[in-house]
Structure formats: C-alpha cells, structure tokens
C-alpha cells in the first residue's frame, strides 16, 4: 500500500495561523438585512399551498376539486394526473445500489405529487395556487379527496417480515437495497478463537433536522427560462434535478440561493415543492411562491438516521479486537431521496471500524421501505451511526471483561506507525494521532480527578457520571470543485464557487484564503455563491467546503498570479521568469518597474482578467478526536443536567478559530440532542407523526445546554489537499452522541444497566432509578 500522493503544501501553512477574522456575513445578518428565500417577493406573485395526505398509506380514490377551483382567488388546482399530462417527470435518485439478487434498488418514484397512492403522512397529493396565501389555504379546505385507507408499516424490523403491508410492488419484502462488506468466513474463524464476545443491539433513532428556516420556493418563468429562488446546499444539483423533472437542458433553469437559515444536510437535493413552484410559474405565467409551515417541515422534509444494528465484537484474552460482525437495517422511508441509501450503505461502513485496528469484519446492511417520510442526510450522515455503534461495543466489552475502558481503547487504537492504514473495508487513513487526541481530552477534562467530583455530587444527592468517546470522521466527498476568479479594472477580485454557505461562515473563510494568496485587502474581494448562472459545483455536503472548495479557491488564486505574471511580462516587456508578485503588484525583479493587478486587468480585452482552476484532492480526509462528557442525574426526577462537554480534535489546520469553534459547539449540540432529547416517532398503528411540532419534538433549548470546551491539535495536517484542512462541520455530533450516553450509563452504574436506547429522557432514567 503506497501513501496517498502528497498534495499538502507547507507554504499554505499560514492559512492555518488560527486567525480569528470577524465574519463578513454578520453585518447584514445582525442588522436583519439577511436575504433568505422567504424575504424575496416578486411583483404579481401568486401563492401555492400543498395538500398532503393525512394517511400513512391510502389510495386516492377520487378528487373533487370543483369547490376549490371556484373559490375566491384560486388560479389552479392540480393533482398528479395533471402533471403527467404535461410531461412532468419524477425527481431522480442516483442508481447506485442493488438488491441481494443483483436487481437494482427498488423504490417508488419520487413524483411531485402522489401518483394515486399516498405513502406517508404528509405525502403531497395536490397543489393549489391562488392570488394570496390565505385564499390558497382556504381553497385547500374545500378540496374533497376520497381516501381509501390501506394498512401501513412503520418499523423496518416489521416491514421485512412476511405478510407485512407492502410499500412498493417492485420491492418484495420491503427490501429496497442491500450491501455486504468484509469476509464472513474469516470472521467466523476469528470468532472461534475469541476469548470474549460482546453483543449489542441498538437503534440509532430517527431525527428531524429542524433548521429554523422553513423551506420556501419562489419560481418565475420568463422568456422560456425559469428562475427558482430557494434554499439548497446544492444549487447545481437542484438545477440538474429540475432539468430531469421537466426533461429540459439544465441551462433552462437558474437556481438562486441567498442566505440559508441552517441546512445540516436536510437542504440537499431537490424537493417536490421546488419543482411544483416551477411548474406553476410556467403554467400560470406569473411568479409563484410557496412556504412550508412548521408542520410541513416536520412531516415532509427528509429526516435523519433511523437505523437498527445487531453487532458482535470478538476479543482476545487481553481485550484486543479480533473481528466485528454486524447487521444493519436502515429505514429509508417510503419514497427515498438521493441520500437515503448512500448513508447506511456506504458512508456508515466507511468509518465502521473507527480508530481501532479491527482485523476482519463481516458487515451486512439492508435498506427497508416503510410508510414514513424518507430519511436522508442529517449532520454526520452515517458516521455518527458507525462511531456510536463501535464506541458502545468497546465500552460494553470493557465492562464485561472488567478492563478499564480507557485502557481497552488504548490497546486497540491504530498506532502512528501503522499509517497509511488500510481498514478491512478498504478505506485508507492517511494519518492520525489517535492516542494523542485521547490523552488530550482526558487531560483537558481532568478525567483522573473525577472521583472527587462524583463524591461531591453524591453529598448533594446527585449521581454524577463521566463518558468518553473516541471517533473518526470521513470528509471530502465528491472531491472536485472548480472556481473562477475575475479581476476587474477597479481591483475587485470576484471569486465564483459552487459550494454553498448555509450559516457556516464560508464567505469569511474563503475571503481569508484568497486575501492570503493574492495579498490584497479583504475589502477588494467578493465571493459569489448560490447562483447557477455564475458558479457551479457539487455544493456543500459532508464537511467538504473548506477541504475541496477552499483548495480550489487557493488553486484559482495561484492561477490568477500565474496568468497575471504572463500578462505583466507582456505589459512590462520582460520575461515572465523575471516577474515577481507581491501585495497585488507584479514587478520586474530588482527594478522599480511594476504593474498592479487592477491596472493589468484594465489593459486586457473586456478590462478584466478571468481564470479558472479545478482542484481534486487526491483522497478523502479523516478528522478524528475524543470527547468527554460529565453530567449529573437527579435520582428523584431522573432529570439529567449536563455539566460539560470537552472535545479534543484533530481537524487538520484551522482557517478561522471562531468559526471552527462554533461548528464544533453546534455539532455537539445536535449530538446531545440525539443522546438525550430528540426522536421522531410515528404511531405504529396509524402511521401518524406524533412528534409533529416543536412542543413534541425536543430541540435542545438554551437552558438545557452545558459548558463546552473545545481543543484542537493542528499538528497533523491533512496531506491530500492544498490547505491541510480536514473538515469540522460534523465531528462534534459524531463524538457527542456516545460521550453523553456513556456518561449517563456511568452515572447509573450503581443500577447495573448495560444499555439504554436513545434519547435517554428523564422518564427512562427515572424508571431505572425507581426500579
């Protein structure tokens, strides 16, 4: 195994000088001048509402739209037949997966409106457009839909049993896709040698991203071309999916994205409502706007996680891991989205053996269809699931084998001398100092001083617990981005990137990068994102923006200097090799003859210099770290008070400390949410979403939140991209989930509990304590 090609350039190290540049976004966001999609309106716009199925599984026997159509202000009422009659297709998903028999992944097509059968509560059934939103809402009340309710299945473990209600005729037994990894025979042999086997079954529960900004779409059709204002992490992907739905070239669409009020993976790809707004705009010849109310956000925005696992870990007498055998069952929902399958079938497995040396693995994972909303990307997307399972296994093994859990982790960590390290699943880790992160977290959290704190808590009648997790993240998906740079005659440098800011301060980080390369003031730089007429790329998913997008920006900056050097040589009548670049000026070395970037641009045709650079880091990156959580339980009520969460992470080099810290904090917050508070619950019989509001689905509030201390080790730069960055958007979530759960289990150790399913609510704790 050869090492990945080293692309990391040590001269880029100054990007990582941990500067904290105030965010350039903040002047507008703090003043209320952000431009989110709902802040836009167009003259003469009409409003669309979407009528949704109240049943989890029902045939729409008939639709009587007479009253709705004639209601005040109503412009149109459409059901799926109207769309097909106009040749509107479905939203495609990548055909990457197969079933066990080799046939392609099976699932209902993602049509814009339910095609005769509603397959989850909230499934769009009809669209109504009126002059005003209120008129459309009133008309929706007048729409008579005759539903024939059919039996539904919610739990994927029941969905795959014989006789279960079927979601799709194509997916026999409700199995949509399946993937196997590893070496079953080698694992069986290893288990035969095991001194100890730890077994665990767990559910990584269904979550709802709940970005504060509800989805909104405003579409316009003019001169044969659409403009869609929406919020998406992937403007180009959204444009291309629209082109597929309407069977037109992508250039027929311009997707424009302004500020985004949180994405977390949920604002990826195209949603049916975006396409419906486009359909309506063309059909009616006027702009059409739609905005989800919070209830629609809960019902019909793709959810996260919902994976069941059964796993067995084989260990030798010293606690060294011999093999891992596991089976995953993912709930895809009824109508999978683009990220439904890839998360459990590919992304989770990528990190499954995490930071440990696991010689062999036998991994089978299936995706099941149920009458629920689709699951898809949500912060971490597969990596929290994989890491949580591994950490729970090792913690449980330590207890069963009566080996200190820190010590058991040490015995199994991949050691620095083992890099590049190839996992049994075929992934190559380029570098890592896993034990140093572990030691860093333990020291920062005063792990060894815990006994005194536990005693002190006990005197106050509280049960104090500490929890540890070590983990690895995988970033750098879809590793190509192209960046254009335009230098104008006034010296403005405009950077066009197809990645997409959604609150993570990308504009600021990118400006920092380009000002470093071009040695010009930040005020001269403009970053353009979120407009497919100006910039295209994969977008911002999987913590890839700095890693891939940032690298492409640096490459484009260097290309600007290279091109400028040629042009300066012509202008100064010198050889390009004699030209040096410093602080925005090209100079003939050793002379006082020079020309500025702006002046040089002014001399060119069109009074500008344009360059393009494409950057493809040679392999993904592996951020990693350790987290410690301490908390206290009130045995009277079962209530958990988080005391603190300490993280110690290797995310490579850091571009902006304040931004990165905020990313880790926010990641931890969503991990804590999963561990203690959040779960999307459908009623098993009726398929109704029981957690359909913020009063039922518990997003952590300020008074539930602990102190967080973040620490970083920047001494292991990623070697496969220009910046040495690894990605920081999701690692906080990955670490917090097991760290918090382990802290609860530790606090409850007097009660002898081996496992508690998340979310570990006060009620669950109280039941354990009350016996």
């Amino acid at each position: 195994m050869s090492a990945p090609a080293v692309q990391f350039d040590p001269s880029s190290a100054r990007f990582g000088s941990s500067r904290t540049q105030k965010r350039l976004e903040d002047d507008r966001l703090l003043a209320g001048n952000g431009l989110y999609s709902d802040d836009r309106n167009l003259p003469n716009q009409a409003w669309m509402v979407v009528v949704r199925s109240p049943y989890a599984h029902a045939r729409t026997a008939s639709v009587n739209a007479d009253a709705a159509r004639t209601a005040t202000g109503v412009l149109a009422v459409w059901t799926s037949g109207d769309l097909s009659a106009d040749g509107v297709g479905h939203i495609p998903i990548p055909p990457l997966f197969k079933r066990a028999d080799g046939s392609p992944m099976a699932a209902p097509l993602r049509t814009l409106l339910a095609d005769g059968t509603a397959l989850y509560v909230g499934h769009p059934v009809a669209a109504i457009v009126a002059q005003t939103q209120v008129q459309a809402q009133d008309a929706a009340e007048l729409l008579e839909i005759d539903y024939e309710e059919l039996p539904c299945v919610i739990d994927p473990r029941k969905a795959i049993l014989p006789g279960a209600p079927q979601v799709s005729a194509q997916a026999a037994g409700n199995i949509s896709a399946e993937q196997r990894y590893g070496d079953a025979a080698a694992v069986t042999a290893a288990f035969a040698q095991a001194a100890h086997v730890t077994r665990l079954e767990l559910h990584n529960q269904r979550l709802i991203a709940t970005a504060l900004e509800p989805r909104c779409a405003l579409a316009q059709f003019e001169a044969g071309r659409w403009t869609l204002y929406t919020q998406t992490q992937q403007p180009t992907g959204t444009r291309d999916a629209l082109a597929a739905v309407f069977n037109t070239p992508p250039q027929q669409f311009r997707v424009v994205v302004g500020d985004i009020g949180g994405g977390f993976g949920m604002k990826t790809g195209l949603y049916p409502e975006d396409a419906l707004a486009c359909y309506a705009a063309r059909k009616l010849g006027r702009p059409v706007k739609w905005r989800a109310d919070r209830s629609e956000e809960f019902l019909a925005t793709h959810m996260g996680r919902d994976q069941h696992f059964k796993a067995e870990l084989a260990l030798d007498p010293k606690g060294r891991i011999l093999a891992l055998r596991m089976e995953g069952l993912a709930n895809f929902g009824s109508v999978p989205v683009g990220s439904s399958a890839i998360i459990p079938l590919v992304l989770g497995p990528k990190v499954q053996t995490t930071v440990y040396h696991v010689p062999v693995i036998d991994y089978r994972v299936r995706g099941a269809l149920t009458h629920t909303m689709a699951t898809g990307a949500y912060r971490g997307a597969g990596r929290p699931e994989g890491n949580y399972l591994m950490e729970r296994l090792i913690e449980k093994a330590a207890h069963e084998m009566k080996i200190d859990s820190v010590e058991l982790r040490r015995r199994n960590l991949i050691q620095p001398g083992q890099f590049p390290y190839r996992t049994h699943l075929g992934e190559t880790y380029d570098a890592g100092e896993f034990e140093r992160m572990l030691d860093g977290a333990l020291a920062a959290a005063d792990w060894n001083g815990f006994a005194a704190r536990r005693e002190e808590a006990k005197r106050r009648g509280k049960l104090r617990g500490r929890g540890l997790a070590v983990y690895i993240e995988w970033t750098g998906a879809l590793p190509t981005e192209t960046v254009d740079i335009r230098v104008d005659a006034d010296g403005t440098v405009t950077v066009f990137s197809g990645t997409q800011a959604m609150g993570q301060g990308l504009e600021t980080s990118y400006v920092q990068l380009i000002t470093e390369v071009l040695q010009i003031p930040a005020g001269k730089v403009k970053i353009v994102q979120g407009d497919t007429d100006q910039a295209n790329g994969t977008g911002s998913v999987g913590s890839r923006s700095a890693f891939v997008g940032g690298s492409a920006i640096v490459a484009a900056g260097r290309e600007t200097i290279a091109r400028g050097t040629e042009l300066a040589a012509q202008a100064l009548e010198s050889a390009a090799t004699d030209i040096e670049y410093l602080n925005g000026r090209f100079r003939i070395a050793g002379t006082d003859r020079s020309i500025g970037l702006a002046e040089l641009a002014a001399r060119q045709a069109g009074r500008q210099i344009r360059v393009t650079a494409t950057e493809t880091p040679s392999s993904p990156s592996w951020p990693n770290g350790a987290q410690v959580c301490e908390l206290e339980i009130d045995p009277e009520t079962g209530e958990i008070e988080l005391v603190n969460v300490t993280s110690f992470d290797d995310i490579g080099r850091i571009i902006n400390h304040m931004i990165v810290e905020g990313q880790i904090h926010g990641g931890i917050a969503q991990g804590v949410g999963q561990a203690l508070y959040e779960q999307a619950i459908y009623d098993a019989e009726s398929g109704q979403l029981l957690t359909g509001s913020l009063m039922d689905y518990c997003v952590p509030r300020a008074d539930q939140f602990p102190q967080m201390a973040t620490h970083f080790d920047e001494s292991v730069p990623c070697r496969t991209n220009l910046l040495g960055v690894k990605g920081c958007g999701e690692i906080g979530t990955i670490g917090a989930v097991p760290a918090v759960v382990h802290a609860v289990l530790d606090a409850l150790s007097p009660y002898g509990v081996a496992h508690i399913e998340m979310p570990i609510t006060a009620e669950k704790v109280w039941r354990i304590v009350a016996g």
């Binding site: 504060l212 913020l694 102190q707």
Partner: protein
C-alpha cells in the same frame, strides 16, 4: 359570506415601529409578524413556526419581548414596537450586535433577530445578569446552529459594553 368579506376588509392602523409613527393598511386578521414583513418590508423578523414555539419572530412590544406570530397587529395601535432593524444606530451596530459579531454569536442568522431583541429586553431591565438569567431569558428562542455557548458569551459581552456606555 358577508362576515368573511367584512373580516378581510383592510383596516388602517397607526403603528409606532422603531420610534417612527407609520400608518399601515392591512387585513385585520394579520399578525404583527405578517404586517411587519409583508406590509412594512421589515423582513429582519423571521417566520419560524407561527405557533409561538421557536422565538424567531420575537420583537419588543412596549419593551417586553413578544412572539409577533401570536400578536394581532390590530392590537398594537399606539404601542411601541421594536424590531431588529431599529437596533443599530445608523451604520454603527448596537453594542449587543457588535458583541455577537466579535464572539461568534450568530451562524446562519435566522434565530438571531429574535435572540437580539429578547436579550435587549433583558439587558434594558437587568444591566448585569448572570449566565443563569441569560439562559432563562433566551430559553424560548431556539437556535439549531450554535449550541448557545457563543450566544451566552455574546450577551454577557454586550451587557458589559452597554454598562460601559451608560457610565
């Protein structure tokens, strides 16, 4: 039918928003949130849930934080309404806004206007609140991005700057 038509006839109401008296024409069923955003183009105040659960639409009514999605605009005649647009003094950020910028108190910015207004109401009454009071005060404002820590720190720093100014 007549009742419906009647209910939708626009009313003319004088509102005092960010210190300025304005006459606004709107349908009487409209919430303060809708009137601010749709009739006055003050889009800094955000739609989050329209059910009083998230705090994104918080504004101050006579100095007290309210969820503007639950307040009928027609009830606000003659009362003082403060929104995020009124915080800055010209091009200079309010000390609370400046502290948010310095300490990372905002990420996506969607919850920020509501949190700024709620925090301002707290600091106007209690110039030096402890962390616990701050946590309590903004516990009705959901933030999905920050984990709240940088928000607490920003409010504490904003409070300090406001006290400095008051000296």
């Amino acid at each position: 039918m007549n009742a419906v038509v009647e209910a939708r006839r626009n009313v003319r109401v004088t509102l005092r928003v960010n210190g300025e008296q304005t006459e606004v024409l709107f349908a009487p069923y409209k919430t303060l949130l809708e009137v601010l955003r749709e009739e006055m183009n003050l889009t800094g105040t955000k739609h989050g849930c329209e059910l009083g659960e998230c705090g994104a639409c918080a504004v101050l009514l006579d100095g007290v934080p309210v969820l503007s999605c639950l307040v009928l605009a027609i009830e606000c005649e003659g009362r003082s309404i403060e929104t995020v647009e009124g915080l800055a003094r010209g091009s200079e950020l309010h000390p609370l806004q400046a502290a948010f910028a310095d300490l990372g108190g905002t990420q996506c910015g969607y919850c920020t206007p509501g949190i700024l207004m709620t925090a301002k109401a707290l600091l106007d009454k209690e110039p030096d609140p402890g962390r616990e009071r701050i946590r309590e005060a903004i516990s009705g404002n959901l933030c999905r991005c920050t984990g709240y820590l940088q928000i607490y720190e920003s409010i504490e720093e904003g409070a300090r700057r406001m006290r400095e100014e008051a000296k």
